[in-house]
């Protein structure tokens, strides 16, 4: 069985080192937070001006002036800090975040990321902070299904969708396998429900596998 989104979020969380400063973008990647135990001291950054973001707010905790980058109400942990947008993006773009986790439409074999615009006629482009995170974090982890709904691979030789960033992705966490983008090619770090041979058959991207 391929990993479900929650299992995938847990898998990403495993690779986040204690004490890291991490941005989880918006949407699906924010689920990674549910799998980061408090004791490992990961500090979450949200682009709209906060370090030390806590879990989603529930009930009386909801405060319209305390949301994450996806505009979902959240909470504040001890040791948090607020700052304005220019300071927040200086933090992101200056290379201070250890990891960001983003969704994607496509990732290329060389680590190009496409996650902001399908380029479809009539679509309204909206980039938010994705391009800033893509070039800013020390490591960019992508979390996505390996195949689109129509079965086409999302890990591709070259992105066909408009790019978010060039050569910026470090790792790709998918429901079928985890890939590392390296100068030598796309390395399969782990597969869940499939063999490397099956992956090779379904992807047009050459795969490197370590001999263990």
């Amino acid at each position: 069985m391929p990993l479900n989104p929650d299992q995938l979020a847990a898998r990403v969380a495993q690779d986040i080192e204690p004490g890291s400063f991490v941005n989880l973008g918006i949407g699906q990647p924010t689920k990674v937070a549910d799998h980061l135990p408090a004791e490992i001291g990961v500090v979450l950054h949200t682009a709209n001006g906060m370090l030390g973001m806590g879990p989603a707010a529930v009930g009386d905790e909801v405060d319209p002036e305390l949301t994450n980058a996806g505009k979902v109400p959240v909470t504040e942990l001890p040791g948090a800090a607020y700052f304005h947008h220019a300071d927040s993006f200086a933090m992101m773009r200056g290379g201070h975040l250890d990891v960001c986790v983003l969704g994607a439409f496509q990732v290329s074999a060389s680590g190009d990321l496409a996650n902001w615009d399908t380029g479809a006629p009539g679509s309204i482009p909206a980039v938010g902070g994705a391009m800033d995170l893509a070039i800013g974090a020390k490591r960019v982890y992508v979390m996505m299904t390996l195949f689109a709904k129509n079965g086409s691979p999302k890990l591709v030789p070259t992105c066909t969708y408009p790019l978010t960033g060039v050569g910026c992705v470090s790792r790709v966490y998918t429901d079928h396998a985890v890939f590392e983008i390296t100068p030598d090619g796309v390395r399969v770090l782990e597969s869940f429900d499939t063999s490397v041979e099956e992956l090779r058959a379904r992807l047009e991207v050459p795969l490197v596998v370590d001999v263990r």
Binding site: I26, G27, T46, A47, N48, G49, M50, V62, D63, P64, E65, L66, T67, G70, K71, V72, P73, E76, Y82, F83, H84, H85, A86, S88, F89, A90, M92, R93, D112, D117, G122, S123, I124, P125, A126, V127, G128, G129, A130, M131, D132, I135, G136, P162, L163, T164, G165, V166
Partner: protein, 231 residues
């Protein structure tokens, strides 16, 4: 020049906006959106506006209402498309509004540059993407950058938590967002606040926007809308 003027109503506070102005509008979604100033701007009626804001309106209120009133010619923002951005979406699809999508960090940094006297800056965001097309690029120390220019406003409309009578501001939680940087980037900064205190009542160590950036202040009743829909 001169200390902040304190106005009795949002309508007086926004009287400075003129047809054709570039107006920086604070807020990230609803958090920090200056609802009362926007409503007053709708009543005031200035048109042909260019709006710079992170989003292009949510639901039927705030910035969305201003768009609906037909006062806006162009929007510069990072994230127009949201689950409840139907007012903008409709105008955009009908070709009745211009859109310039700007990466969120560039939006903030370009306004900061305007406020800080920077003529232009080389920025790593967007290199190799459609948003850098036609822009000057340069490789510095082996890394590629795009040249970005300041965004200056005629007026900034922002929301803060407390002002003192000098115009010093403090904000609350993530409602701070674009307010401080917009205040530096506009010729005239208009601020709605929940309370106004005497000079000396805000600790000088915790002031976020110093008084020099604030021209007009009006106190309003706190008003929050339900946060609906992620993104």
């Amino acid at each position: 020049m001169s200390k902040a003027q304190i106005f009795a109503s949002p309508d007086e506070a926004v009287s400075v906006v003129k047809d054709g102005d570039t107006v920086l509008v604070g807020g990230f979604g609803f958090a920090g959106m200056p609802f009362d100033l926007i409503d007053a701007l709708i009543r005031q009626g200035a048109g042909d506006l260019t709006i710079v804001s992170n989003n292009a309106g949510n639901g039927d209120v705030g910035l969305a209402a201003l768009l609906k009133a037909g006062q806006v010619r162009k929007v510069l923002c990072s994230f127009p498309r949201q689950v409840d951005s139907y007012v903008f979406d409709d105008l955009y699809r009908r070709g009745e509004i211009e859109l310039e999508v700007v990466p969120q960090g560039n939006l903030a940094e370009r306004m900061r540059a305007a406020g800080a006297g920077i003529g232009a800056f080389y920025c790593p965001t967007g290199v190799g993407t459609p948003l850098a097309e036609g822009k000057e690029t340069r490789t510095i120390d082996g890394r590629d950058y795009v040249l970005e220019y300041p965004i200056k406003g005629d007026v900034a409309l922002i929301s803060a938590h407390t002002a003192d009578t000098m115009g010093n501001l403090v904000y609350r939680k993530t409602a701070r967002n674009f307010g401080p940087v917009m205040a530096t980037a506009a010729t005239t900064t208009v601020v709605q606040v929940s309370s106004i205190v005497d000079a000396g009542q805000i600790d000088p160590e915790v002031v976020v926007t110093p008084s020099i950036y604030v021209d007009r202040v009006v106190q309003v009743e706190p008003r929050h809308y339900t946060v609906q829909g992620a993104r």
